[in-house]
Amino acid sequence: MGVRVQALTELVEDGRDELRCDVAMERDERFEEMVARQARFMFQVAFGLLRNRQDAEDAVQEAFLKLYRGEAWLRMENEKGFLARTVWRVALDHLPKAVERMTDVAEMQLAASGGSPEQSVVDEDERAVLRRLIDGLPEELRQPLVLSSVEEMTSREVAEAMGIPEGTVRTRVMRARTELRRRFVAMKEGQR
């Protein structure tokens, strides 16, 4: 009798273990799928803030690690908004390091460019000028502008990621575009 009960208990225990194992495997599979689906998107969000591939990739990895350790990702409603918000916060932690590295790179580029600034400006085409103008925007304008340009990212998701109202995002995007145009025109006139 006792032996049979014990065997039964073991069976139940095994069943539970299997069940637990199954749940864990299912969770892992789901997570892996999410990584495959959203890694690129998260990379773009991080890059929008950090402007450096290496830092952006680190931020993405760390963000996924945080998500994996917690359970919040299992209950998220707006997947993109949630993930953007997560990676944005992680990237903010990386920002000081990234800015430091950025200035170093800028200085190096300046030192290597050789000729006068005027010459370089003439040589570059308009796209490069515009890229530099975007970089030169204040962060509070640049971040919403770049994030809004990320594929498949609505202004609502941008607002969620940055933790500001959606209206503010739109206003800032508009201001950023106007400012860019003004500067671009001014630069063109200066070149002539």
């Binding site: 997570f31 892996e32 990584v35 495959a36 890694a39 690129r40 990379f43 773009q44 890059f47 929008g48 591939r53 952006a56 990739e57 993405v60 990895q61 996924f64 690690l65 994996y68 350790r69 308009e126 796209r127 515009l130 890229r131 975007i134 502008l145 770049v146 994030l147 809004s148 340009s149 990320v150 594929e151 575009r177 860019l180 145009r181 671009f184």
Partner: protein
């Protein structure tokens, strides 16, 4: 102008798309998954270490404030511990000191204890005087001997400096106070005749038919007032008759009683204890006989009943230093004889 703006907007959108959508390096997903696996493995390792207790005590440390707070809380409201469940069971062990019970040994022990308690009690109650000074109380007992009837109190004496004892004859008139002593002839008749008297109680009668002055029982004939001193007759001192001293007739001193008051002790000295008596712890009374003269000084001190061991001499020495108010008779101090009992007591 509008074309320019549209051109710019298109250009900007194009550039922004390019800036905002960089393609991540190939294998980002793999790298993320690898990082996750590494982290999981690390977590497992940490958990294992915690299980064997490597991290528990080493990394967790209570801060000073929280430690103080928990200490205070424990002092005011001590947390109740779960009741202690005794899991061990007593095991029968051999007592090596066990020797069994013996009634005989117990009896001996009781007897020994009682004896010890009695000894302690005896030692506590008994006073041991080894070399400590002994305190003595001297009880002075004046023993006035019963005064004899006046007719028998025939002490006293007298005498005058003559060559022979008093001769046979009739004694002169007896009086309480002698004014003129009897004289042997030839005697000059004084201008004022006062009859010679002797200081003898007036109720004493001495029958004699001899016409001349003398003593009735004297064997001598002739005329002599005796060989003593004073104004009496006989061989004694004083104004009486006989071999004694003082007044009256017969031998010996005047006795206390009758008209003679007892001397009163004025000054007393404690006798010393002799070393011998102290060693032998002798105690008792010494009866001392003495005369108290007219000045109140003790004379003729001697022991009547002694106890030896040197205490008799000490008693005599002490009594000799006594001072009395003399005995009185007819408001005159007289010498009397008395006994004193000196008590030697050891505490």
């Amino acid at each position: 102008m509008r074309d320019q703006m549209e051109e710019f907007e298109m250009l900007l959108d194009d550039v922004l798309r390019e800036v905002a959508n960089p393609q991540p390096g190939t294998g980002l997903k793999q790298r993320v998954m690898m990082r996750l696996e590494m982290a999981a493995a690390q977590a497992l390792e940490l958990r294992g270490m915690a299980e064997v207790g490597l991290l528990d005590g080493g990394t967790k440390q209570e801060s000073i404030l929280s430690s103080l707070w928990s200490g205070l809380r424990e002092l005011v409201l001590p947390s109740k511990l779960s009741p202690l469940v005794l899991e061990s069971r007593p095991v029968v062990a051999l007592d090596r000191m066990f020797e069994g019970r013996s009634y005989r040994a117990a009896g001996w022990a009781v007897v020994a204890h009682i004896f010890a308690i009695l000894m302690v009690g005896f030692a506590a109650t008994t006073k041991m005087h080894i070399a400590a000074p002994v305190r003595m109380v001297t009880t002075e007992l004046v023993v006035p001997p019963q005064a004899p009837p006046k007719a028998n109190a025939m002490h006293g004496g007298g005498g005058q400096r003559g060559p022979t004892p008093v001769t046979k004859g009739t004694p002169p008139k007896f009086a309480e106070q002698q004014l003129v002593a009897p004289k042997a002839p030839p005697m000059m008749e004084p201008k004022i005749h006062i009859e010679p008297t002797l200081e003898v109680q007036q109720d004493v009668r001495m029958a004699s038919s001899v016409p001349q002055i003398g003593v009735a029982n004297s064997p001598l004939l002739g005329m002599s007032m005796g060989s003593g001193k004073g104004g009496g007759m006989g061989s004694g001192n004083g104004n009486g008759v006989g071999p004694g001293s003082g007044g009256n007739t017969g031998g010996g001193l005047r006795q206390i009683g009758g008209g003679v008051s007892a001397p009163v002790l004025l000054y007393q000295v404690d006798p010393e204890f002799s070393e011998e008596a102290r060693r032998s712890k002798t105690a008792g009374n010494v009866l001392v006989n003495l005369w108290v003269d007219e000045k109140g000084n003790p004379t003729h001190v001697h022991v009547i009943r002694g106890i030896g061991v040197g205490l008799d001499e000490k008693a005599v020495a002490a009594v000799k230093l006594y001072k009395f108010k003399p005995a009185m008779e007819n408001e005159k101090p007289v010498t009397v004889e008395m006994n004193v009992e000196v008590t030697f007591h050891i505490f």
